[in-house]
């Protein structure tokens, strides 16, 4: 049962007292989207297997592997209230990665692009720790967070602050935040030469967001964010990768939540428009359906569509761009679209929540809204399987 906010406890007049009584009966927060202080400690664990499809043999150069990435992921999370008004969230993640990634695209005598892969197998582990401290107030919340990520060839330190204000009887909220990340890159040396031996990059990001309750079953949120990258932005494991040393990104998001009472289900609609000064623009639409079945089961099917245009300096054939200052054959900078879908099953048993989910992701140049003749051969398809639990201490 959800915790009642302090602001909703009986105050001065009769109307407020009646309001509070109604809330106590319904067991509801006035606005769960404002991130009230959690009323109990929760511990969560998830195991995921992320697996990319092997490449078609006719998309890789003779002698090159068709194998791609496979990652085992372990996630731990603790969320706990602290004292009267604080809470803390601790996330830890461990990944074990193996596989290969595209090193270069070359065009064969028939004019078809072929991939040269990075080698038979790359093995790496990533460890991440993130901690977030929240101070909850009657009229909002402020938070500070720190995140550390470490791999054999990559280290990242990031931190930030967030502020959230509720107003208009908690019908509306405005939040803003700033974050900064400092990343060090030290590529592992192997058979193929890397773009650098040691380098670094920085990222600064700011956002402003607002939410508004439309009616008793509907709420919207919109946000605008700006991110500035500078430093070594190339992929060191790609040959001839010459990207600008700065990047300015804009993103606008619009989210909607709607509860359908007769179906006991919630509809989530999330949209993002993205634009940057590398010439890349994208649209992302995600729709999820949270179907309650009785008091213990929940099914969550979702569908996501993504489309991006290519970066100004993307190309499959390096020789055609030899005189240009910037060039990349990274498939992630090509024009393509992607469709993914999946299903999550949640089962609640007393203080335990058991969850199982799966996702299938397929990308193709033909799915792009902005068509382009240069389809990158390295576009990825992947499957993800996740299982885990969350335990609530009471």
């Amino acid at each position: 049962m959800a915790k009642i906010n302090k602001k909703n406890t009986p105050k001065k007049d009769t109307l407020t007292a009646l309001t509070s009584a109604a809330l106590l009966l319904s067991g509801a927060n006035s606005n769960s989207h404002a991130d009230a202080q959690p009323d109990a400690t929760t511990l969560g664990y998830r195991y995921s297997l992320y697996s990319e499809d092997n490449l078609d043999r006719d998309l890789v150069a003779p002698g090159s592997t068709t194998e791609r990435y496979e990652i085992d992921i372990h996630q731990f999370q603790i969320v706990a209230p602290l004292a009267e008004t604080f809470s803390v969230k601790l996330d830890m993640q461990y990944e074990d990665m193996s596989g290969a990634s595209p090193w270069q695209t070359e065009v064969d005598p028939n004019g078809d692009p072929r991939l040269i892969m990075s080698g038979a197998s790359i093995n790496d582990q990533r460890r991440e720790v993130a901690i977030k401290l929240n101070r909850h107030r009657d009229d909002g919340r402020w938070s500070v967070f720190y995140q550390y990520s470490d791999e054999d060839d990559y280290t990242s330190n990031a931190g930030g602050v967030e502020f959230l204000w509720e107003f208009n009887q908690d019908i509306s909220t405005v939040s803003t935040g700033f974050s900064y990340a400092d990343d060090d890159i030290k590529p592992t040396q192997g058979i193929f030469p890397t773009g650098t031996l040691k380098d670094d990059k920085q990222k600064s990001s700011v956002y402003i967001s607002g939410s508004h309750i439309i009616n008793a079953r509907s709420i919207i949120q919109t946000a605008l964010s700006y991110t500035y990258h500078e430093g070594y932005l190339d992929d060191p494991y790609k040959y001839n990768d010459r990207r600008p040393d700065e990047r300015k990104q804009w993103a606008w998001t619009a989210n909607h939540r709607y509860f359908i009472d007769y179906a006991s289900a919630a509809l989530h609609t999330d949209y993002r428009f993205y634009d940057d000064d590398w010439g890349l623009r994208s649209h992302t639409l995600r729709i999820s359906w949270y179907q309650n079945i009785g008091s213990r089961w929940q099914l969550v099917p979702f569908l996501r569509y993504y489309s991006q245009s290519k970066a100004d300096f993307f190309g499959n054939e390096a020789r055609d761009h030899i005189d240009e200052q910037h060039f990349s054959d990274d498939y992630r900078l090509s024009a393509y679209g992607a469709i993914s879908g999946g299903l999550k099953i949640n089962y609640q048993l007393d203080n335990w929540l058991i969850t199982v989910s799966g996702e299938r992701y397929h990308s193709d140049a033909d799915l792009a809204l902005d068509s382009d003749n240069e389809e990158a051969p390295g576009l990825v398809d992947f499957t993800r399987f996740t299982t885990g639990f969350t335990y609530r201490f009471e």
């Binding site: 309001t19 992921i73 995140q147 919207i220 494991y237």
Partner: protein
């Protein structure tokens, strides 16, 4: 003529659109009418661990990223 909006005017258009959306609903929903809004499945991110993992996969495999909240650090994900 290039129909694509420039970076400099895009934020102004998006802020104006956001303000329009936020000002669209002026109805009053009393606190005791918000029990459906307070349901866990109505949260912006009901499963933060699941969302974190999905965002990381999209971040490392797609050309665009970010939006709507404070962003963390990067990774050497290929």
């Amino acid at each position: 003529m290039n129909p694509k909006p420039t970076i400099s005017c895009l934020p102004i258009k998006l802020i104006a659109l956001a303000a329009l959306i936020l000002s669209a609903g002026c109805s009053t929903v009393e606190p005791w009418q918000r029990q459906d809004l307070a349901r866990p499945e109505m949260a912006w991110a009901p499963d933060s661990m699941g969302e974190q993992l999905q965002e990381q996969a999209y971040f490392s495999k797609e050309g665009s990223s970010g939006g709507g909240k404070a962003s963390g650090g990067g990774c050497g994900c290929n």
